[in-house]
């Protein structure tokens, strides 16, 4: 019986981690309608940013906020030079290719600068484990889950109750309409891109103590993020959170009770099943496109 409860705990904690990775992706798609294949590269940038700050002597917890800032700046630079010029209001597959090439460029640059070998990222919670009524919880995972819940709640609140937040929702639904009602659309668009990238970076630096920092660390996590975002409904933040928990729990149960080698196919099978019945995903908006 306690294996069952332990699996639920594993699934929930895993889901919280996935949510953080996925929300960045869904914000960018939701607001900018860009499929960001470079998400994994920014995820890795986050890990390397916190690593570099640690090498300068900063403690992990102090380094995280600064590292998020660093990744956000890189995101802003990319937005101005490439994304703003090439991607807005252009067909989706333009964004697929440019963001994929961007991901390759960032990974190659990381290998050139930081070398190909995995580098440890030390965190105060890195190694310790907590046991609660006999159930095991890795301290770092709990820290990730807690941060994820706090950050996502704050973000959802900010979207709902602040002017900027409302403007982001407006731009995501109808960029032209938002423009005519006086919203500074270019600013909102770069803000959304930077927020999405920063979320990816934050996820990277939180997971780095567990998986250590290496150039291609983003790839596997992005695949999961895509399944989560599609399951939850592209562009819906609450959908991303729900999708993350569903995939987290199903992965945990499938791996524990069914088979390990087919798990990575499970994510996709879930996505395909959901899309057959709810084409817009669990929480997504049905796209009513007036012709």
């Amino acid at each position: 019986m306690d294996l069952f409860v332990q699996t639920i705990i594993n699934g929930l904690i895993l889901g919280a981690g996935y949510a953080l990775v996925a929300v960045g992706l869904t914000v960018i798609f939701g607001t900018l309608h860009i499929v960001n294949f470079a998400h994994g590269a920014f995820f890795a940038l986050g890990a390397y940013a916190v690593l570099m700050l640690q090498n300068l002597g900063l403690n992990y917890l102090v380094a995280v906020p600064f590292a998020v800032l660093a990744v956000a700046t890189v995101g802003y630079l990319v937005e101005i030079t490439i994304v703003r010029r090439a991607l807005y209001d252009r067909g989706e597959y333009g964004s697929i290719i440019i963001t994929f090439a961007l991901a390759q460029a960032i990974v190659a640059a990381t290998i050139l600068i930081m070398g190909p070998d995995p580098l440890p990222v030390r965190s105060p919670f890195g190694q310790t484990a907590i046991s609660l009524f006999g159930f095991f919880l890795s301290a770092q995972r709990v820290f990730i889950a807690a941060t994820s819940v706090v950050v996502l709640a704050a973000f959802a609140w900010w979207l709902k109750y602040t002017v900027r937040g409302q403007q982001i929702l407006a731009v995501s639904q109808n960029p032209k309409g938002a423009l005519y009602s006086g919203i500074n659309v270019p600013l909102i668009r770069s803000l959304s891109f930077v927020l999405g990238v920063a979320a990816a970076g934050l996820a990277g630096m939180l997971l780095a103590p567990l998986i250590s920092a290496f150039p291609t660390m983003g790839d596997a996590n992005v695949i999961v993020a895509f399944t989560v975002v599609i399951l939850g409904g592209l562009g819906s933040i609450s959908g991303a959170m729900l999708g993350a928990l569903v995939i987290g729990l199903s992965n945990a149960f499938f791996e524990t009770y069914v088979s390990v080698s087919w798990t990575s196919a499970l994510g996709w099978v879930l996505v395909i099943l959901v899309l057959l019945f709810w084409p817009q995903g669990l929480m997504g908006r049905t796209q009513i496109n007036r012709h």
Binding site: A86, E92, I98, A101, A105, H291
Partner: protein, 334 residues
Amino acid sequence: MTSTSSQALKLQGTGRAGSLGKGVLIVLAAGLILFVGLGLQSTFWLNLAAYTCGFALFALSVNIMLGGVGEVPLGQSMFFGIGAYAPAVMINNFGLPFEFGVLVGMVIAAAAATLIGGVTLRLTGAYFAIVSWGMSGVAMVTVHNIEFTGGALGLFGFSRLAVGPFDLSHPRTYFFVTSIILLLVLILLAHIRSSRFGHALESIRQSRHLAQSLGVNVFRERLKAFVLSAPIAALAGSLCLPFTQIVTPESMSVLRSVDALLAVLIGGTGLLYGPVIGSIIFTVVPQFLNFDANVKVLVFSLLIILIMMVAPGGLHQLIKAAGAALRCMSESRR
């Protein structure tokens, strides 16, 4: 994509000029094949040229969906993998000839496309792209775990890779076979573009609603395009086998589809032989950039970003724009 697609859609047959232009193109292509096939002496370049033809075939199948219907087929590599695995399984597990394996691969790919298309083609845009990526992900895991597809190690050591009398392990023959097949498929696609089916696809790509209101069964035509593209991708997979010498689950990975997408977008989706130009650039150019591997990836990726920013219609659009610029410069000087 851009105005280029209408030029490419010349009204063959109705005007004399149409078919004459095409005839010249075919002769030109045949000449190019002879020149490269006899001109190249080194086995490396002959094999690479043959592989480029195979890869171009795969890029053409991707462009049937991308340029033809306006969808991004990230999962097309699954059909490429089916085309690679079918002959390998036939030769190693059942001792059947390579040609039979290629045909079986194309049939299975077409059948799989009918099933999968029926499901995924109800979706569009990012949803279609990512779900078709998912399909190739599931296929890769399946092939990884099944015994008779050689599991993670894959299948290798093929006794005979030949099409009838033509032994594909001999580089020059390998090049002639793949390039001629590529030319035949190009001719087929040219006919498709100027047929009722091709016009229906073009009308759907430009505006689904308008096409539907003119009596086009949008879902059925898109499915026909998907089922047409699958065996071509499978044929490409089989033709790449003599080069790679081994079939592994990676042949179905999404990275293969993205390579083809890059080639198509560099060459230009509007032009029929755009993907062929893109494939040549994509496989041949990196051979000349011989500095550090990571620097090569960095340079090549930034180059792709630059091209896509300057000319979303691909290099083809750039060449046309340059041509137009030259023309108006010469006019202004007169």
